[in-house]
Symmetry: C2
Subunit: 315 residues, 2 copies
């Protein structure tokens, strides 16, 4: 038997044919480019059709990871970075070409923790959290082996965590934690400091501010650039506080750090643990381990595969 | 049929005989006084024996709420305010006198949300949170109709939430949120301000600082006492931030405010909602309602009863 795992992102679509043991039998990555609305749906269903044709009855289940809110009851998607996807009927469209094969969908953060549970650093865990830090911040939360969805499918919006009073209007677009500690937050804070600190002539000054990203800040940190050191230390404090809160609330077995920023920030995990240990429930924090993602950029496609597999295992 | 609900607190033990509809058929409240270790266990088992004798086969199930950590696998209790209860085998002791009747136990915060779900303001909800603010702070969290326990039974320790950087050593005994916004925190901050502000001659000055409680501060607030107004406004900010975090993380249907402080703080729920709305995930915060406890001090005994009832309904 085989399953199909689909990882739809805002910029690219990855589709994999997987064995029930998680071996990738085939994989294709397609740029989404400027496609919008139904064009993106078509891109997905064409890939599904291809595997329906080539695999036949060997193909038993399909799982989909989407970049936004996966509405469980309706099978529709809200994806802020795909034009026209306010309530897009993706599950229905896939079912229309899937010849009766079950289709299951969840958000990318939910799929990431499922991927880690299946084949990554959360193997054997029933209570684990995937902290995804990229352009934005979200968390995939596993409780008793099931993904936390909430009453209306938007649980895990940890980028909105309140960590520093008083409230500032800068938090309006994305929340306090994400404002400071996302990839975009790192770049933004660095740009602000560069604009105000005219006495600074370090390497970050050579960068066009409009092009400056978190990755430039990580490089400058390695050269002990004072602005980069300040910005990254601020981030470590916020990451530590946020993780401490998740530990006190959930008493999990593992926290797994993923997303593009972990990547370069993996080396700060011990410092994040030290910060979190100051704040968190003191027993819980000794019962949790801090880990990097075992699957990196593939966590959500494996998770889509596991979603597919679990749906036929529980039948 | 009847069930027994037991609410063991640090200062008193309440035991109720309940019908399956939640009517209280009999209830007794006994002071724990200075009892410790096995004496407290004996106090509980004597009550159970009494109902076993009088009810006979009509008595079908027993539920217990305990003031601390209820260890699910071992049936033991860690209760910080009962001497000698580091790992007390309460379930085993009750089973020894319970003549084969099932015994189920959980923490007071877990039982409180179960009580509200059965007969209080969370009726009909599967995703709701009971925020208990008394001497300390904890939360009972219901997900898909089940209480969140965590990997080692200490989930819901929200008093440890990190809400205000940088870290201060004052947070060591009880955590940042509880330091500022528990009953004890309100009294402590007021005492500190009184000690430093010699120009203040308001009503709080008449109180012996050692005897000052949060209730004095609430009374002074009603007279627009400036220190009380400052302290309560700080609390509202912290309560709002903490609740915002729970909303962003869990996307719940309801937040229920209980414990001794709500009580007098019930009138601040609209102000807490206003503060939380600034911080929380903006869609989630429109999907949640903010409510007072429907059962007040009886939430955990009803919850113990519901725990008992659920255990025989699922058999």
């Amino acid at each position: 038997m085989s399953i199909v795992g689909i990882d739809l992102g805002a910029t690219k679509l990855a589709v994999a044919l997987l064995s029930e043991n998680g071996e990738i039998l085939a994989k294709e990555v397609i740029q989404v480019n400027r496609r919008k609305g139904k064009e993106v749906g078509l891109l997905v269903t064409e890939q599904v059709k291809k595997y329906i044709d080539t695999e036949g009855t060997a193909l038993r289940s399909i799982g989909v990871s989407v970049p936004g809110i996966s509405r469980n009851k309706t099978g529709t998607v809200w994806a802020p970075n795909i034009a026209g996807w306010e309530d897009y009927p993706l599950v229905h469209e896939i079912q229309n070409v899937a010849a009766g094969i079950p289709v299951n969908m969840d958000s990318d953060r939910a799929c990431s923790i499922l991927g880690e549970q299946w084949l990554g650093n959360a193997r054997g865990c029933n209570d684990a959290i995937y902290m995804a830090v990229g352009t934005g911040i979200g968390a995939g939360i596993l409780i008793d082996g099931k993904v936390l969805r909430g009453a209306h499918d938007i649980a895990g919006a940890v980028g909105w965590m309140a960590l520093n009073k008083p409230y500032k209007n800068e938090y309006i677009p994305c929340g306090c934690f994400e404002h400071y500690a996302s990839g975009e937050g790192i770049a933004k804070l660095t740009r602000e400091i560069l604009a105000h600190d005219q006495s600074y002539h370090g390497s970050l000054r050579q960068q066009d501010p409009a092009q400056l990203t978190a990755y430039h800040v990580f490089s400058a940190y390695d050269e002990r650039d004072p602005i980069a050191v300040y910005v990254i230390r601020e981030c470590i404090t916020y990451w530590g506080m946020a993780v401490a809160n998740l530990i006190s609330i959930f008493n999990p077995e593992k926290i797994i750090f993923g997303g593009g920023i972990f990547g370069p920030a993996v080396k700060f995990i011990p410092a994040i643990k030290e910060e979190a240990t100051k704040w968190a429930q003191p027993i819980s924090v000794t019962q949790v381990s801090f880990e990097r993602s075992g699957l990196q950029g593939d966590a959500s496609i494996y998770g889509a595969g596991f979603l597919a597999l679990k749906s036929i295992m529980t039948r």
